[in-house]
């Protein structure tokens, strides 16, 4: 036990002190903060300038109404969002008006203009012509305003009570509410669910890749200068393996704690939505189990590697395996009950990421959580045994990397 502790302490302390660790400690959350803060900022973003919008309507039916409706939109409650000007001229043809207005757009005198065709008839059409294909929010507003006016005009014509008019023009929106296991409810926001799933999977992936890479590099160093011989003439291979896994897990745990603290302080600044942290305790369990699982695997694989370049290659291959869940974030959000998502959340390699994903999207029954954590614990156990067999021989074989056939032989050896 003392030797395992010595090894774990060495692996932990010597790596905590490295520059790369400190950089990753700061850089990783920095990248993720950008990911998580961006949607909040994006949804709040609003242009601060009044946009000049031209109106062309040869029938002149809608001009006054539209002007009135558009002036209701305000930037920060004072400044109007739009300044609408009538570009319709009596003695010009529609084509001429279009030509002049297009020119105004190109010369940036106006942001864009609304072209109302067949204004007087039922087959009315409306174009918004601008340099860019248009801000979705603006177009939505033009649409709403125009339709309101159109309905209003029609109902006025038919002499219908203005109260009914008000009723019709108020549409009711569907409010998505997510029901949590405990009966709590929370506003479900697509962006937040997407980014929180994304963040946890990314964090796990980056941590595994980072510490796995570090582990392999240090094993390569120990092998190349035969330090490994001094070590295994002091303790047995299993003690070394266990020590390394514990040391690295402690390192990973330190990272999680620090990141968690950063996360909490960000919630208090309201930059990161609190919803990110709803399932934290369970997610943390998967996070830690996943990390230990992959670390155990890296120890086995790392013992076979004989050079820095090989180490890099192997880390690259493994990163593909780890990126896989990220590809599934979007489809999973659309259909969280898809069979393949459930299957993937029972395979040890993808289990942690997919369970974290599922926990974020919809409530997961307790029995599933228990079954998956049990699977994970057993997988870790078997992965350590498997790695230990390769490790025992791998650390003492130099030169050529063993073929798959040899590896299988090592595993079979008692």
């Amino acid at each position: 036990m003392k030797k395992i502790f010595e090894i774990a302490r060495w692996e932990f302390i010597e790596k905590v002190k490295t520059k790369t660790f400190i950089i990753s400690l700061i850089l990783t959350p920095a990248i993720l903060i950008i990911f998580s803060v961006t949607p909040t900022l994006l949804s709040e973003q609003e242009t601060s300038q009044t946009k000049v919008i031209g109106l062309i309507d040869t029938s002149e039916t809608y001009i006054t109404g539209l002007k009135e409706e558009l002036s209701k939109y305000k930037l920060n409650d004072v400044q109007p969002s739009y300044l609408s000007i009538n570009l319709t001229t009596k003695n010009k043809s529609l084509n001429e008006m279009k030509k002049y207005a297009d020119n105004d757009v190109i010369e940036e005198k106006i942001e864009g203009y609304l072209l109302i065709l067949n204004g007087g008839t039922d087959s009315v059409a409306i174009d918004y012509r601008s340099k860019s294909s248009g801000n979705l929010k603006d177009i939505k507003r033009f649409e709403v305003s125009f339709n309101d006016i159109r309905i209003k005009l029609k109902l006025n014509k038919e002499n219908i009570n203005p109260q009914i008019l008000k009723f019709i023009s108020r549409s009711v929106e569907v409010n998505p509410i997510k029901i949590e296991e405990s009966g709590k409810e929370s506003k479900s926001d697509f962006l937040i669910t997407f980014f929180s799933s994304f963040i946890f999977i990314m964090l796990l992936m980056m941590m595994i890749l980072y510490s796995g890479g570090m582990l392999i590099r240090s094993l390569v160093e120990e092998k190349s200068n035969r330090l490994i011989e001094i070590i295994v003439s002091s303790c047995n291979a299993n003690e070394l393996l266990t020590g390394k896994i514990i040391g690295l897990s402690a390192l990973g745990f330190t990272q999680i704690v620090i990141w968690f603290l950063i996360g909490i302080s960000l919630v208090s600044t309201a930059l990161v939505p609190i919803e990110l942290f709803t399932n934290i305790p369970v997610i943390l369990i998967y996070f830690i189990l996943g990390f230990i699982f992959y670390t155990s695997m890296f120890v086995g694989i790392g013992s076979v590697v004989t050079s820095e370049q090989e180490a890099q290659q192997i880390t690259t291959y493994l990163s593909f395996l780890l990126i896989l869940p990220i590809i599934f974030v979007l489809p999973a959000l659309e259909n969280p009950h898809a069979v393949y998502i459930h299957i993937l959340s029972y395979i040890p390699f993808t289990l942690p990421s997919f369970m974290m994903l599922r926990l974020n999207i919809s409530p997961v029954p307790v029995w599933e959580i228990l079954v998956t954590t049990t699977i994970m614990i057993f997988s870790i156990y078997f992965m350590i045994i498997f790695s230990a067999k390769i490790f025992r021989i791998g650390i003492l074989s130099y030169g050529k990397r063993p073929a798959l056939k040899e590896l299988i032989q090592w595993i079979r050896e008692k």
Binding site: K2, K3, E6, I7, W10, E14, T18, E221, S224, N225, R226, L227, E229, I230, I231, V232, S233, S234, C235, N236, L396
Partner: protein
Amino acid sequence: MLVVENLRKEYKNIVAVDNISFKVEEGRIFGILGPNGAGKTTTLRAVLNIIRPTSGKITFNNKPITNEFLNTIGYLPEERGLYKRSKVTDVILYFAGLKKMPRNKALSEAKSWLKKLEIEQYADKKIEELSKGNQQKVQFIVSVVHDPDLLILDEPFTGFDPINQTLIKETVLSFVTAGKIIILSTHQMETVEKLCSDILLINKGVELYLGSLANLKKNFGTNTVKIEFDGDAEFISTLNGVQNVDRYRNYAEIQLKDNIDPSEFLKMIVNKIKIKSFSVLEPTLNKIFIDVINQSHNRQV
């Protein structure tokens, strides 16, 4: 006492070590010699419990090798190198810790060793900041800091300048006085001649010679004496017991028959000519090494 009996290690299709046996007693330095790839390192690794022998028995003080035994071994591998980015003292403490040495004791021992090997000023430096020779000293300390009972040194003197070689040699000899068991593997034949009392000579995993160095020299010596003299030495070639004479004006190399002792020969000639000097020519270990290895090759051919 370390006893190795009938050690054999096979890899897939090669026998690295075949039926090797030897004993090393306290306070002796045992030399393992052989050309590159002879199986020296495999033998050492088996003793160190790094590899499991295919067959054979290794005991230390009549007990089989256990994990506890590993704490009493010091090992200096041939390839050198330590954690480059770590501090000298930290590295020494780590390895001492792996030998279950209490941390405060390890610290005081580390300090005294750094001082003994004249590198105490580097205690807080990173390994990579040290010169190659000083890095090797640190590695030597790593192998001895826990006061091992069995010390295995693989090429301990390479890479040191003559002054430091002497320093390390003296340190190794102090272990002999302290009654430790030392196994030395080296290609430096003069070192073996000066330090080792017993040797094992192996080639291709097979024992070629096992025993004392003196015996080896006797076995492989050609029983030749060299004299410097005044007078007429012509009679020597007619003497009984003389095999061959290589005579110059007042100097001769005489090969004696196997049953004639050099001192007997001296008695035969001492009254007949004036002898200025008399010496027995011993073959160097270097020459024996080359001869024996060549012989074993020829035998196989």
